[in-house]
């Protein structure tokens, strides 16, 4: 991960360029259904990237990350006026800010604890947010909120793109994904990012080297929450609809699953995991209405027989073929 050989960097760069090109051209080739599906996947990829900051780079296994996704989504749902369109440039920063605030608040409690406690406490707090939206008049109950209008991207009198158009939404989400990816790549190489990885590797030593670990973890939790809020906002924007299920613990479980599928602690892995997850979901639900049975069974088999996740298959394959050590 750090000081990877240059050859691998080049191979990764080529794969990345190909993937970017494919995604950029996809709406020209695909039918409308697939354009919307890939839009959804890219939103989930942002969500998975945000969780990877915690799980893969700070070593905090959160089982309540859907809370911030939901807060971001609800921010749009609640801010959208009933008889006119909301403005993207006003509501988006508010949504991200609200999610960041929610994460800062929860983080202040949860980063004090570790391991199993952390998993349970994040889940419990996420459930609290679920109840806030599910049970109170503020959240409009279990039916959620339908938005009558898509947000507009107007700046002054100028509207650069139309969010009622699925292809425009696709490119907007694509741009957001690229931005988030680049932002995290840069962030994780910064002194702050390196410190997070140090905490993941050996929190005790980081403390004895003089790092105020609590504040680093809290900052990480907040950044991850903000980015999850961005993903949630985009989801609300795409579907024009929010309900408490966005914050449900299935959502938190599924995003963890995406990370595992793609390989924890790799930004590429988070994106690949989102694609793999939706592909599995589509495959299984085309086979049976009880597709969660297949998904659950797959997860169980995956954990028992493939301890390193799907990503480890590639590593093992490479090792047996080329005999070179895995760089992660």
């Amino acid at each position: 991960m750090i000081h990877a050989p240059e050859r691998q960097d080049r191979r990764k760069a080529i794969a990345l360029a190909a993937a970017l090109l494919l995604l950029a051209l996809f709406p020209f080739a695909g039918a409308a259904f697939y354009t919307e599906l890939v839009t959804k996947v890219m939103i989930l990829a942002i969500f998975a990237l945000s969780l990877d900051v915690l799980v893969g780079y700070t070593g905090l296994v959160s089982f309540g990350h859907a809370a911030y996704y939901g807060v971001g989504a609800y921010a749009l749902g609640l801010l959208a006026p009933p008889y006119e369109a909301a403005n993207l440039w006003l509501t988006l920063p508010v949504a991200v800010g609200a999610a960041a605030l929610a994460a800062l608040f929860v983080g202040a409690f949860v980063v004090r604890v570790k391991g199993i406690y952390f998993i349970m406490v994040t889940l419990a707090f996420a459930q609290m947010f679920y109840f806030v939206f599910h049970d109170t008049r503020f959240g409009r109950g279990s039916d959620g909120i339908s938005m009558n209008f898509k947000p507009v991207a107007a700046i002054g009198g100028f509207t650069p793109f139309d969010l009622a158009n699925a292809v425009h939404v696709y490119y907007f989400v694509f741009a957001a994904l690229v931005l988030v990816f680049v932002f995290l790549r840069v962030l994780l190489r910064s002194p702050f990012g390196r410190a997070l990885q140090g905490i993941r590797s050996n929190e005790h030593r980081m403390r004895s080297l003089g790092y105020p670990v609590y504040w680093y973890k809290l900052a990480s939790f907040t950044v991850a929450g903000a980015l999850a809020g961005l993903a949630g906002y985009l989801s609300a924007l795409q579907f024009g609809f929010v309900n408490p299920e966005l914050l449900s613990w299935h959502q938190s479980g599924n995003v963890l699953l995406m990370l595992i599928l793609g390989g924890v602690g790799s930004l590429y892995g988070a994106v690949a995991g989102a694609f793999a997850f939706v592909a599995l979901q589509e495959l299984f639900s085309s086979l049976t209405t009880h597709w969660q049975l297949l998904l659950g069974g797959t997860i169980i088999l995956l954990v028992i027989f493939l301890p390193g996740g799907l990503a480890s298959i590639a590593g093992r394959f490479k090792r047996t073929l080329v005999g070179e050590p895995d760089d992660e």
Binding site: P191, A195, G198, N202, S208, Y216, A219
Partner: protein, 250 residues
């Protein structure tokens, strides 16, 4: 008197019914290497843990440059200049040796808000890390992943990481343990060069090394200070002989 950097008074730590450290008074002076000897279970490592903040004291106090730091967290103590190494190697196994030291050095210039800069490019931190690696004799091994280093090299890295934090006080817990003869000799040499500008507390089992480098020696038994003084005084002390030196060389 003015060169006392770290001082404890009545420092104690209880684990259930066991007094691991009991009423210890110790003074570390700048420019002096203060060794702590004692049989296993004497409370030496606990003493270091109390000074570094890894453990909280149950009684007594610790003063650093006149300021009471008994209740300070471990990370704050490190930031104000108290660095420590561990008896059991405590490194970042998946990172390179250089990155281990770079991360240590970064703690002195954390720049957490410089999120758009590459940490590895920051000159002062890089150089501090390289100096520390060099001082510990690891200059050639910077690019190796820490978990791939030999046991002795990992011990050197352990020291290099403390040095990279540029501490004023060095708390070294058995730095020579697990080192080969040549490495140990270099470490003794390093301790000599560090001594004039630091206040060092050295816990070490290697008697020859201790008597070769120590300015002051404190002998601990059962969590208490048995005797404290110059090496010659300790060597001659009948009490120390009885309790420690004569019995076994463990």
């Amino acid at each position: 008197m003015s060169d006392v950097v770290l001082a404890t008074l009545g420092l104690s730590r209880r684990f259930g019914g066991l007094m691991a450290v009991s009423g210890v008074a110790i003074e570390l002076h700048r420019g002096r290497l203060h060794a702590v000897l004692g049989p296993n279970g004497a409370g030496k490592t606990t003493l270091i843990n109390l000074l570094s903040g890894d453990l909280a004291a149950t009684a007594g106090n610790i003063r650093y440059r006149g300021e009471d730091i008994t209740r300070c967290s471990a990370d704050r103590r490190s930031r104000i200049g108290i660095g420590r190494s561990y008896q059991k190697t405590n490194i970042f196994p998946a990172f390179t040796a250089f990155e281990n030291c770079r991360l240590a050095a970064q703690s002195r210039a954390p720049r957490p808000f410089a999120v758009f800069t590459d940490a590895a490019r920051h000159r002062p931190v890089r150089e501090a890390a390289e100096r520390a690696l060099d001082a510990a004799g690891l200059a050639a091994r910077g690019g190796s992943v820490a978990s791939a280093l030999s046991h002795g090299e990992q011990r050197q890295l352990e020291i290099a990481m403390v040095l990279a934090t540029a501490p004023e006080v060095l708390l070294l817990d058995e730095p020579l343990a697990g080192m080969g003869a040549e490495e140990a000799q270099r470490m003794v040499g390093l301790l000599r060069t560090l001594a004039p500008k630091h206040a060092i507390l050295l816990v070490e089992h290697d008697m020859d090394a201790v008597f070769a480098v120590a300015d002051v020696i404190t002998v601990m038994v059962n969590g208490q200070v048995l005797e404290s003084g110059a090496p010659a005084q300790i060597r001659a002390s009948p009490a120390v002989r009885r309790a420690y030196l004569g019995e076994a060389d463990e």
